[in-house]
Amino acid sequence: MAYEDDDPPLSLHLPRPISEPHLRLDPLSLSAPSAVRHGSRAESERLASSQPELADADARLVIVGDPGRTDPHLQLAGNAVRTAKYSPFTFLPRNLFEQFHRVAYVYFLVIAVLNQLPQLAVFGRGASVLPLAFVLLVTAVKDAYEDWRRHRSDRSENNRAASVVDSRDSQFRTKRWKDVRVGEVLKVFADETIPCDMVLLATSDPTGVAYVQTINLDGESNLKTRYAKQETTSRPIGDAHPFAAGLIRCERPNRNIYGFLANMEIDGKRVSLGPSNIILRGCELKNTAWAIGVAVYAGNETKVMLNSSGAPSKRSRLETHMNRETLLLSAVLITLCSVVSICNGIWLGKHRNDLELSQFFRKRDYSDSGENYNYYGIGMQVFFTFLMSVIVFQIMIPISLYISMELVRLGQAYFMIRDTNLYDESSNSKFQCRALNINEDLGQVKYVFSDKTGTLTENKMEFRCATIRGRDYSSGKVPLQDNGGTHSVLVGDRIWKPKMSVKTDPELVALLQSKVETEQGKQACEFFLALACCNTIVPLVVETADQKQKLIDYQGESPDEQALVYAAASYGFVLIERTSGHIVVDVRGDRQRYDVLGLHEFDSDRKRMSVIIGCPDKTVKLYVKGADISMFGVIQKTVNLDIIRATETSLNAYSSLGLRTLVIGMRKLSRNDFEEWQSAYENASTALIGRGRLLRAVASNVERDLHILGASGIEDKLQQGVPEAIESMRQADIKVWVLTGDKQETAISIGFSCKLLTSEMTQIVINSNSRESCKKSLQDAVAMSSKLAAISPDSENILRGTGSSRIALALVIDGNSLVYILETELEEELFKVATVCDVVLCCRVAPLQKAGIVALMKNRTDDMTLAIGDGANDVSMIQMADVGIGISGQEGRQAVMASDFAMGQFRFLVPLLLVHGHWNYQRMAYMILYNFYRNAVFVFILFWYVLYTAYSLTTAISEWSSVLYSVIYTALPTIVVGILDKDLSRRTLIKYPQLYRAGQRDERYNLKFFILTMMDSIWQSAAIFYIPYLAYRHSVVDVSSLGDLWTLAVVVLVNIHLAMDVFQWNWITHASIWGCIVATVICVIVIDSIWMLPGYWAIFHIMGTGLFWLCLLGIIIAGMLPHFTTKALTEYFMPNDIQIARELEKYQKNAATTSEIPMSTLSQLL
């Protein structure tokens, strides 16, 4: 159990939502309960103790074993689940409805619809609908495939078999899951999955204990304990309807997985039920031969299914900016359309008398009694022209960009997932991309909020040292080898061995082996016995390849407890069996059975747990272990004061080493004491109201006057590469904040060991217990920081944060102070202090406070925040931050489920941010700009031409070419470049973390770039249009030929523009860019080979003339000249960091090879 009130939260024992790929957790239901433990006491009180009466109106009544009476009208949900969204009939309408939630799609739909009106028909029917249809189709196919997979998994899930009591003859019959109904009594056998949420009635264990494994839900492999009520466990099985009399009154279905409010009326008694009495769908029954329960929630009303709705999706920074530029483009579009329609009105006004006789206009249709044909007066014509010009210029807003971005992100995700540098060997986990729309945010992170346990550290607790009777045994360095059978047990003809061995202290081993009779030896024995039995660990025996040997795997909810039990085993106190009534411990070869008479579980008020053991020698002992603060309060201080002092000294020493400490105490209970406790305990545990509080009082009452046995130090090992990663991030100007539930001392020592804090730093510690003192320390901190800033006026260094002249500041603040700061006006002060500090360390923070701190920075700055954590207590923070990263480590998968990206190790942040993030940002930024540019060039060409068609919106470029332009002619290269192009090699990016700052400063995509690009696109479109226009003026050239020239020119030019900006040319880039030009030529040729179209054979005619080729060459050179010149100028005279690094990369490397350095050197770098 987590005695230090640290991260592994107690409330995690309950199952969590299922980890099937299509399900996502609901953030709220997760964050709230995990807050319970750290947060308000009232909340935990409510959950754990007495339950408010359920009004019948709000309750669901379940008559045990009688589904017919429980649900006479079949109103309750059956157990069939349906995660699939669509049925074959609803697919089309629903899918389309969902897709049109995107505003851009609505825009294109409106345009396609407008185009269907005969007055406005600009494009042919097919050509106008095609792009939108294509986009919709691609998405629909993707959705359909996903849904088909869901259907398939639903089907197999619904058809699984369950054993259900038949209400007619009370025999267990096999039923399919989907036919299970609320009220039915089910029997689940070992290793079976639980088909619905059921209240436990009885289990194979006489005391009604059942163990469930929730690996299918959340990936946690440890066992959780559930209980059947005593009132139901004792009933004989097989009799007619043993539980028939029961009536369960429970809450309506809700998504709170950690809460369950119900009571059961049975035999006229009312028994209350809580979260520990229910087993949830999706869990697996383990270590229990069978369990019988009654279904209370079924199918889509189970807690797991209610929690499977999607989380709100995040939107990347770049995309938000992109929307701003999209608006600008819309303004440009409207301007163009207005210009065209107004000019059209003026032209019509000037020529209104000519319209009838002009051969090219001819207002009237004489076959139809001389009515006007398609002419409705100047006003209407202007209006129609406006709408038509919107249709013609529609691709100013690039529809293909949306699809391209999705594809590029997919490709980027593919490369991140396949990156061997992001693969964690120890947990065998690849990088996971759970959110597909914020890849590029990884390149702009400014603040990293990190959890400590399990994120910076491995959360693999290892017993390091102990203090017994005031004597410190901390020299344990030599791992205990297979020396005899001290820590393996002979069972029958087999050897059982604990799965892990722990380094032992030779002195302590010697003490235990030879000097047991001394006082010190006795104490040591008691100490390790306490470690072995004062816990909730369940030993699991695992077969090994070796027939002779079995491994004992200690399963438990707390890694600290696991570490202690393994330690005890290594010193010869092997826990080999636990039932609810007794445990079996092999005490150095002598197997002893201890009766577990009572167990007071850990809670966050007492911060300790205790167990009452009936020893083989008929004595009754109370073993207690807990956090030092809480333990010293209940230790008998009248004797052995020097031992207590010595223990305290060792504890401080351990703590400063970054060890997690626990104090162990014991008390021998006299018969009177025990009986007194027993009656109190029985009273409390059968109490109907306030049971939790009463039990706690009983526990506090007995946990007193303890005799101190000793203390243990457990190391939470730092993950590999953490200090180096933090250093890299510091250089990249990423501020790392550590938010932890640990104590201040532990947090600071971890801070030092991971190089987050250095001895040169000035620490500002805010550790206050009241609002006023908090305010005062904040003001002091502000004053101090400004004073320090004044000492070093070199602002450059402050910005860089690397200057040695400046005294670095570190802020250490604890959760108590944060209570008074967050969400008050003091927030602003904290923000000020925090921004000038290089490092911020928050200790003893609750999950919601973690989210609060993230929100503090996120709301007050434009900087991108990233939160990284591994536990359920990090979920709220992960969801709050712009980018949430889950560590798939020891603490289960809740953080992973809530995260946007998941990976195995903290140090992967460096390649993820500095390399992939940088690349993704750079690529995506360029791609968006390029797409805007590319479509703008095309639109401007159309616009220039419209000026020479009496503003009648004729397009010289054939309509099919217009449609295919952004789909085929120019789509692939930008996607390929968006996925593959690298401005810098991985090695350079890792070597110079400073390069990451480009992303933080929005260097690759900003308004200035956008405007420059747009100006370039105007120039290029003018070159494309006016060179042929002037060259072919007063000639016989026909509209299709000139259109073909423009088509080819624009495609070649935009592809060459792209080619000029590509950083790295590999064969794929070559193939896509040049291939696209070839494809365009082929497409144009195909289009011009259709005799139905007016442009028949035009391309062959025009390509046969020299003028065509001269125009093309002139367009390319004249068009690219400004871009090329500015590029050459800026790269040479105003190079940015990236440019310099590129040149370094190219010229400093032994010129022989152009390929990259193999990864092996890189992993050394990391």
Binding site: D191, I215, N287, T288, L357, S358, F360, F361, R362, D365, S367, G370, Y373, N374, R418, T420, V491, G492, L540, V542, E543, D553, I576, E577, V584, T949, S952, T954, L980, K982, R986, I1027, Y1029, A1031, Y1032, R1033, H1034, S1035, V1036, V1037, D1038, L1042, Q1064, W1065, I1068, W1091, Y1096, W1097, H1101, G1106, L1107, C1111, G1114, I1117, L1121, F1124, Y1132, P1135, R1142, K1146
Partner: protein, 334 residues
């Protein structure tokens, strides 16, 4: 000690997670592609490159520019605007009435002097100014199916407002483009000797062979109340109506030329050509201009100095940039 195999441990199947990951490692397979390490070339714009590129462009562009200018200069072009002068002086106030009056004689004689020797073939064009053959109403007003296949004669969709006659019979060829076919005619003579104008092969072969049917004959053409232009010989198939085929290749720009025919003999400097033309086509209603153009051609087409000047300008600019960059690099190296 059999009780050790109690209920707790006995039923355990063992999760075996210790050994499982070893067997099916999820480690991504290494390949240069997935690690994004494909061999690649990384070009950098070094001064050497920049200056060479500019110089190269200059070296290529200036000669091309000079060649184009020379080609353009070699082209001899005679342009004669006749729409206004061919209106009788008494009708200049109402040119539209003049041109619409079928009774008046539209003959008009123009004399042109050949400024320089023109070698054959000499192309005869008519040029219309301000005629929006690329107007949306106009461009769309045709039906290509009807032009190609006799069986599709009824297919007149898209031809509005010149689709059918008043009695509903389909017009072949339908649409505004065909309806507005240009109908001025020119007869050239030097002194008393007529110059023959070859009107065969003035249209694209691809159009004659595949776009205009050999068995499609004009029907109900130009029978409406408003005459747009030329009438067609109903006995000649469309594939032989070359003036129509040329006209139907709608021009890209509002000022355009269309090939009228070719004079296949050399003209000498100082020759005076007299042109007898029928000024039938109505451009007065929209103040369009009509010009007659006689022109030789070069490898670059007709007379147009623009491309030559543009190439010279770009080439010169590149030379300038090359020099400027060189100086800057020398004076102020990075």
């Amino acid at each position: 000690m059999n009780n050790v195999n109690g209920s707790v441990v006995g039923s355990s199947s063992g999760s075996g997670d210790g050994s499982a990951p070893r067997r099916n490692s999820k480690r991504p397979k290494y390949s240069r592609f997935t690690q994004q390490e494909l061999p690649a070339c990384k070009p950098i714009l070094t001064p050497k490159w920049v200056i060479s590129v500019f110089t190269l462009i200059g070296v290529v562009f200036v000669p091309i520019g000079i060649a184009s200018l020379m080609a353009s200069n070699d082209v001899v072009e005679i342009v004669d605007r006749y729409d206004n002068v061919c209106v009788p002086p008494n009708m200049t106030n109402d040119k539209v009435a003049y041109i619409q009056n079928n009774a008046t004689d539209k003959t008009c004689i123009r004399t042109l002097e050949v400024p320089k020797h023109m070698s054959q073939p000499i192309y005869v064009y008519y040029q219309l100014d301000n005629f929006y053959q690329n107007h949306r109403r106009y461009v769309k007003s045709r039906n290509d199916a009807q032009l190609r296949k006799r069986s599709q004669a009824n297919e007149t969709s898209g031809c509005d407002p010149e689709k059918r006659t008043i009695d509903g019979a389909p017009i072949v060829p339908c649409g505004l483009i065909a309806w507005s076919l240009f109908n001025d005619t020119y007869i050239f003579a030097i002194g008393n000797k007529n110059l023959t104008v070859n009107k065969k092969g003035i249209s694209w072969k691809s159009d004659r062979d595949h776009k205009f049917g050999k068995d499609v004959f004009p029907k109900n053409f130009q029978s409406g109340p408003l005459i747009g232009g030329a009438k067609l010989n109903a006995t000649k198939p469309l594939s032989e109506q070359e003036d129509l085929i040329v006209w139907m290749r709608t021009a890209a720009l509002p000022t355009f030329r269309k090939l009228y025919g070719r004079i296949e003999q050399d003209l000498n400097a100082g020759d005076v050509i007299s042109v007898t033309l029928k000024n039938n086509y109505n451009t007065y209603s929209f103040s369009g201009k009509k010009k007659l153009v006689l022109s030789t051609s070069s490898w670059l087409g007709g007379k147009n100095d623009f491309l030559g000047i543009a190439y010279l300008a770009v080439g010169g600019l590149c030379f300038f940039l090359a020099v400027a960059f060189t100086i800057v690099y020398l004076v102020k190296p990075r």
